[in-house]
C-alpha cells in the first residue's frame, strides 16, 4: 500500500466519543417481548479518525449511530462527548451541544423535503440555531454548498431536479453548516450507483482533511468500510465481535464471523485471482428478540463448543489495539484451515 495517501496521524489518547456498556432495548408492541438492539457495547472514537462499523441487517449498527448523536436514549450505559455526559446538560446547553454531532442517512430522497428548495433545506439548521443575521446565514449555506462542489444555482432547485449523487452532497453540506466535530454516516453511499460512490467517498475524505472531521461510518459493505476507515468494528446481534485497525481486521481477522464476512464478499476479480477457501455460513442472523445464550454467533459458528453456549466470551485485546470476543481466538492458527 505504498501509493496510498498517508493515513493522517491519529492521537490514540485523544478521545472525542467514549461509549461504555451501551444498551438499547425496545419493547415490542404487545409489550411482552424485549428487543435487544444493542447489548453491551464499549468503544472510543478518536479525534480525526474514521471509525467504521460493519454489520448485517439487524445487527444494531444503525441504533449505535443514532445513540452516538443523541437521537436514541440508551437503556443503560453511558455515552460521553469530549469527556462530558450530554444528558446531564441543561436543555439549552444540550441543544447547542448536539450541533457538534451530526448524522447523515442513507436515503437522500427521504431526508430532503420535496417542497423546499435546496438552499432552504441547507439553511434550516442555521436558522434554527439562529446565529448571525439572515444574510450571514445565507452566505454560510452557500459556502457549505460550494464546499461539496455544488453551485449557488443548484440552491435554487428542488430535490427532484437533482441526481442521487447531488442530493447526497446536499445532505453533506447541510450537516456541515453548523461546523460539527463528528459526523455519523449511516449507509451514505448505499443508494448510489457504483460509478458515483467513488466521488462521494472522495468528498468525505477531502472534507476530513480540510476540516479535521471525525467520522463514524456505518455500512454493510466491507469494501467501503475497509477503504476509508482507520479502525473497524464488526457488529453482530447487538454486540461487537471484533474491533481493530482496518488492516489487521481485514487481513488477520480474529473472529470467525469476521472471517466469514470477508470470505462472503463477492470480488470482481477473475477466478484465478480469487481465494480458494470460501466459508459459507449456515442460516441467518437470529432474532434480537430471542438471541442465543453465551456467544451470539455460536448458532452459525463452525467452531462452536459447549462453553460458547454457557458463557459470553470476554472482550479481549489479543494484539495491540485489536479486540475480539471469542473464546478461541487466541489459539494458534485458529481459523486458518
Amino acid at each position: 500500500m505504498t501509493d496510498a495517501a498517508p493515513a493522517r496521524q491519529i492521537d490514540t489518547s485523544d478521545t472525542i466519543v467514549s461509549v461504555r456498556d451501551l444498551e438499547v432495548r425496545f419493547q415490542t408492541q404487545d409489550r411482552r417481548g424485549m428487543l435487544r438492539a444493542i447489548d453491551g457495547v464499549s468503544f472510543d472514537v478518536r479525534r480525526g479518525e474514521t471509525f467504521g462499523i460493519i454489520g448485517e441487517s439487524g445487527s444494531g449498527k444503525t441504533t449505535v449511530g443514532r445513540a452516538l448523536v443523541l437521537l436514541q436514549k440508551p437503556t443503560a450505559g453511558s455515552i460521553q462527548h469530549n469527556g462530558l455526559n450530554p444528558q446531564e446538560l441543561p436543555a439549552r446547553d444540550f441543544r447547542k451541544h448536539r450541533r457538534d454531532y451530526q448524522i447523515i442517512f442513507q436515503d437522500p430522497n427521504a431526508a430532503l423535503n420535496p417542497r423546499m428548495t435546496i438552499l432552504s433545506s441547507v439553511l434550516e439548521p442555521l436558522d434554527l440555531a439562529g446565529e448571525g443575521n439572515a444574510e450571514q446565514r445565507r452566505q454560510r449555506a452557500l459556502q457549505a454548498l460550494d464546499r461539496v462542489g455544488l453551485s449557488a444555482e443548484i440552491g435554487a432547485r428542488y430535490p427532484h431536479q437533482l441526481s442521487g449523487g447531488q442530493k447526497q452532497r446536499v445532505l453533506i453540506a447541510r450537516a456541515l453548516t453548523l461546523q460539527p466535530k463528528l459526523i455519523v454516516c449511516d449507509e451514505v453511499v448505499a443508494a448510489l450507483d457504483m460509478s458515483i460512490r467513488g466521488d462521494v467517498l472522495n468528498l468525505f475524505a477531502r472534507l476530513q482533511r480540510e476540516l479535521g472531521l471525525t467520522y463514524v461510518f456505518i455500512t454493510h459493505d466491507l469494501s467501503i468500510v475497509s477503504h476509508i476507515s482507520n479502525r473497524v468494528a464488526v457488529m453482530y446481534l447487538g454486540r461487537f465481535t471484533e474491533l481493530g485497525p482496518t488492516d489487521a481486521v481485514t487481513e488477520r481477522p480474529l473472529h470467525p464471523y469476521t472471517q466469514a464476512l470477508l470470505s462472503a464478499e463477492p470480488m470482481a476479480v477473475p477466478s484465478g485471482m480469487r481465494e480458494d477457501r470460501r466459508i459459507i455460513l449456515e442460516g441467518e442472523i437470529p432474532s434480537p428478540l430471542d438471541p442465543p445464550s453465551g456467544c451470539r454467533f455460536r448458532t452459525r459458528c463452525r467452531y462452536a463448543q459447549a462453553v460458547c453456549a454457557d458463557q459470553s466470551p470476554e472482550w479481549r485485546e489479543l494484539a495491540p489495539d485489536h479486540w475480539v470476543a471469542c473464546h478461541f481466538a487466541d489459539r494458534p492458527n485458529f481459523g486458518a484451515n
Binding site: 458515483i196 470470505s263 470482481a268 459459507i280 455460513l281 441467518e284
Partner: protein, 363 residues
C-alpha cells in the same frame, strides 16, 4: 454465434454440461429495442440489443440503474408495462420467436421453460397462500400432476434449495420465513417445472452478504446440476464474477461489451467496463482517492449522438461521434467501441500476493 460459447478454462463447467449444443444458442436476442410512451413523448429505453445464451450457460448482465438491464430481462418474457409504444427485434428461443408468437404459445413457455425470479421475494410471493401452494402452482398449470404428487414434488424441490424440514415448511406462509428462505422458495417455484432458462433479476440485492453467498452458491450449483441456463441481472460486478461464465455490460440502453467473465475483468475492452471496475474500492489502494467516472448516465430524452458514453469517456476522439456497432473483437468477445484495438484499459488487480503475505504474519 460462436461468441456465446467461448469460455476460459477455469469456467468450463456450464459448457462442458451443454456439450455439442454449444453451437446452437438456447436464446438468441437480435435488435431488441423498447420505446415507452411518457409525458415527454416517446422515449427509447433500449435499442439494438444483441446477445445469445447457450444451453446451460451462466450469463451476467451488468450495468448501473437505468441502463435497461431489467427491461431487457422482462422483455424476454414480454412482461412489459402498459406504456410500451414500440417493441422491435426478435427473441428466438428454441425455434420460437417470443417477440411475436401468440400469447397462448408464450404462456406455455412462461414459468415452464423460462422462469424468472426477482429482487424482493416478499412482494413476489402472495402473502395469503402457503409456500407449497405457490411452488406447485406452475406444476398445476403446466402439467397434469394431481394435488398429492404436486405436493410431493414441491417438498422435494424445497429440499433441493436447502430448506430444512421441508415437510413442515411447505405449509408455512411467506411471513413466517426469513428473507433468505423466501428467496429460496422463489427459486424452488421457478425451478419446479425444470426450465431451460432462469432469469434472475438482482436476486440477492435485498439480502445480507452472508446469505447472498448462500443463494449465489445455490443458483450456481442448481444451474450446473440441472443444466439450466442462468441469466443473472445485477449491478454488482462481484456477483457476476463469482457466479457467471460470461458478462454482458450495458450502458444507456445498449450492450457495450460481451465477454467471457474472466477476460472482461482482467482486460476490459470498453472504457465503461474498465471505469466500473476501477471504481470498486477493493481494487484501489486504501485511503487513496477512488477513481470515478465523471458526469452521469444521460437521460433517455437527451441521448448523445454517436457513442453514448462519449461525454464521460476520457478516450473519446472524433471517431466516437459516429454511430457505434457491437464489433467482434475475437476470442468470443464483442465490444461497442471504435477504438478498442488501440486502447489498453486497466482491469482487476491481483491483490492476493499482498494479502497472503499479511496473513502469514503470526498473531
Amino acid at each position: 454465434m460462436k461468441g456465446a460459447s467461448r469460455t476460459t478454462p477455469q469456467t468450463d463447467d456450464a459448457n462442458a454440461a451443454s456439450g455439442k449444443a454449444a453451437s446452437t444458442p438456447l436464446l438468441s436476442v437480435r435488435g431488441l429495442g423498447i420505446r415507452f410512451k411518457t409525458s415527454q413523448g416517446q422515449l427509447q429505453a433500449t435499442r439494438g440489443i444483441d446477445f445469445d445464451v447457450a444451453p446451460g450457460e451462466r450469463v451476467g448482465i451488468v450495468g448501473e440503474s437505468g441502463c435497461g438491464k431489467t427491461i431487457t430481462g422482462l422483455s424476454i418474457l414480454r412482461l412489459l408495462p402498459g406504456n410500451v409504444a414500440k417493441f422491435d427485434g426478435s427473441i428466438r428461443f428454441d425455434g420460437l420467436d417470443l417477440a411475436t408468437c401468440s400469447t397462448s404459445k408464450l404462456r406455455a413457455v412462461r414459468g415452464r421453460r423460462i422462469a424468472m425470479i426477482f429482487q424482493e421475494p416478499m412482494s413476489a410471493l402472495d402473502p395469503v397462500f402457503t409456500v407449497g401452494h405457490q411452488i406447485s402452482e406452475a406444476l398445476r398449470i403446466h402439467t397434469k400432476l394431481g394435488a398429492k404428487e404436486a405436493r410431493e414434488k414441491a417438498i422435494e424441490m424445497l429440499r433441493s434449495v436447502g430448506i430444512a424440514s421441508p415437510e413442515r415448511r411447505i405449509d408455512d406462509y411467506p411471513h413466517q420465513l426469513s428473507g433468505g428462505m423466501r428467496q429460496r422458495v422463489m427459486i424452488a417455484a421457478a425451478l419446479i417445472c425444470g426450465p431451460q432458462l432462469l432469469i434472475a433479476d438482482e436476486p440477492t440485492t435485498a439480502l445480507d452478504v452472508t446469505v447472498q453467498a448462500q443463494i449465489l452458491e445455490l443458483l450456481r450449483e442448481l444451474s450446473i446440476k440441472s443444466k439450466t441456463a442462468l441469466m443473472l441481472i445485477t449491478h454488482d460486478l462481484g456477483v457476476v464474477a463469482e457466479t457467471c461464465t460470461r458478462m454482458i455490460t450495458m450502458y444507456a440502453g445498449e450492450v457495450i461489451e460481451d465477454s467471457p467473465v474472466d477476460d472482461a475483468l482482467l482486460k476490459p475492452l470498453h472504457p465503461y467496463t474498465s471505469g466500473l471496475l476501477r471504481s470498486l474500492p477493493h481494487l484501489s489502494p486504501r485511503h487513496a482517492d477512488l477513481p470515478s467516472i465523471p458526469g452521469r448516465v444521460p437521460s433517455l430524452a437527451e441521448m448523445p449522438a454517436g457513442c453514448r458514453f462519449r461525454p464521460r469517456c476520457s478516450h473519446a476522439t472524433k471517431a466516437c461521434e459516429g454511430e457505434q456497432t457491437l464489433q467482434d473483437a475475437g476470442g468470443g468477445r464483442k465490444v461497442r467501441c471504435v477504438r478498442f484495438r488501440e486502447l489498453d484499459l486497466p482491469g482487476a488487480v491481483d491483490q492476493r500476493a499482498e494479502r497472503s503475505k499479511a496473513v502469514a504474519v503470526p498473531q
